[in-house]
Symmetry: C2
Subunit: 305 residues, 2 copies
């Protein structure tokens, strides 16, 4: 029996987990129906389709994190301010009236400083999950299209910064004069490491090093795998060079897949210690903590597996 539905609704992806009375994942559904592909009035029908496929009746509540709560998403769930005790996240969820079902969207977090503004939406839920499940503390890196760096002090989110690393890589590898040379499917660890080290040592040379990639190809001096890997290394290295914690800090990396490998290698080259937590599990744990806060009598936390 499904107890509640957890959804991570991002810019470009939709991920849903049906959680049973034991706190176990009963079903998983994923699609490309991210916020950027939907008008506000399409979120409800998309969710309904997935719920119907699972046979989740109208009494099953839904907790959502991520860009569905953006101003251009389903409904604006607002932003909480810093410093933020992460345990207060669930109580700030907004309720979306939809077909009589209990649907909540968790808010994001903002730093409203004119000189230095920043926002997150989705990562706060990941942090909550990692806090409650793994006792998260200190500096955290959550890589992605917009990489987040957070600082946690005894369960309180005190600071965060976002780097446009993944988006810069996507633009340069797909839409720039480098695109024809880039084969992102291939990985060259040495070229990646060289890029990381170059950017850590000389972050001010980025724009020249980007052109070197093009010139190297025009002159037949490098191949496509090298270009993609070096580009990735240069951008991740630049992110690390500018990390708010400094280059060599102890960092908890919350990531999955290729990004986890890349960032672990780069953080290692930067000289810091790395602890790796799985991003998928962290966000699911965060949604479970929120669900337990929202509907305390009806469910227990998803168990650790």
């Amino acid at each position: 029996m499904i107890r509640y539905i957890a959804v991570d609704w991002g810019t470009s992806s939709f991920r849903l987990w049906a959680i049973d009375v034991e706190g176990q994942v009963r079903n998983t559904r994923k699609s490309g129906q991210g916020m950027s592909t939907l008008a506000p009035d399409q979120f409800g029908p998309v969710l309904d389709t997935h719920l119907a496929a699972l046979g989740a009746g109208p009494g099953v509540p839904v907790v959502i994190c991520g860009m569905a709560g953006a101003r251009t998403g389903w409904r604006d769930a607002g932003y909480l301010d810093l410093p933020l005790p992460l345990d207060t996240l669930a109580e700030a969820a907004i309720r979306v009236p939809h077909e009589g079902r209990d649907i909540r969207i968790l808010p994001g977090v903002a730093r409203r400083e004119a000189a230095d503004p920043d926002v997150m939406r989705g990562e706060e839920t990941m942090l909550l999950g990692a806090l409650r499940r793994f006792g998260l503390e200190g500096t955290v890196c959550m890589p992605g299209t917009h990489s987040k760096w957070a600082r946690l002090d005894e369960g309180v989110l005190t600071r965060f910064e976002t780097a446009m690393t993944g988006e810069a890589f996507a633009l340069l590898s797909r839409q720039s004069t480098l695109s024809a040379f880039v084969d992102p499917a291939q990985v060259d660890d040495r070229a990646f490491g060289d890029g990381v080290k170059a950017a850590l040592d000389q972050p001010e040379t980025l724009l020249r090093r980007l052109f070197h990639l093009r010139a190297g190809q025009l002159l037949g001096l490098v191949d496509g795998a090298e270009v993609a890997s070096r580009l990735s290394g240069l951008l991740i290295g630049l992110e690390l060079a500018g990390a708010p914690s400094g280059k060599g800090a102890e960092v908890t990396l919350i990531a999955s897949g290729v990004l986890a490998d890349r960032y672990a290698q780069a953080l290692d080259l930067a000289g810091g210690g790395v602890r790796l937590l799985d991003a998928d599990r962290a966000v699911r744990a965060g949604l479970a903590v929120a669900a337990a806060g929202l509907w305390p009598d009806e469910m227990q936390l998803e168990t650790t597996r």
Copy 2:
């Protein structure tokens, strides 16, 4: 009477000048028929159309610089190596067989070093013109899609570097998550200067500062003119921070229009001296010097005006 035709055939633009027996510009033709829009067999017909419009008979020779000489252009004019005495440029021009007319394309310049490769095509002609017309010497900055930094020592090009500044600005302002916020038509000098200074002081924070632009807009803290100007400032500031000559060097800026204003302001903020030369006149002068070398008995140099 037209003595020769000078053409600057770039990636995205075509510019032609008909030069008379006095060395004066008789006609100018400009279009968007750049290298990136043409297949190799389309260059000849495009040129013919412009020549026919001017009534330039088959006896009028044509000298061309720029991307028409790229491997993917009209015909590969190759690259010369460093150190390059600029006066030898014309003798390395290739001849393009086309309808019996004497057509030459000037070569580019390459640095074939695996660790640090670079290429230019078109700017070497600008340097030649500025050398012969204005006695160019020392560090030179030629901003653009791919900004060139060159070092001239007594007429010899000894070093150059390219920064992908203009292309990065185009990608971020037109195709990124910032695009919706950017109004490139507006200029905010203060925001531009703030961006330059931030990048000069902390080049390693670029990727974070890019996201601040987005967050500032989401939170209603900045307007579109500020975003465009600050973005431009951040990228030009990063280029200057990584300039091979160091931040505060004496620089000759060869530029026109808005770019000339922007770079002059940025170089001033970086603490160096700036001498400004007009880019259009420099390239035309370079083509005139090349023409005089190619066809010495038939013409004199374009006179200085």
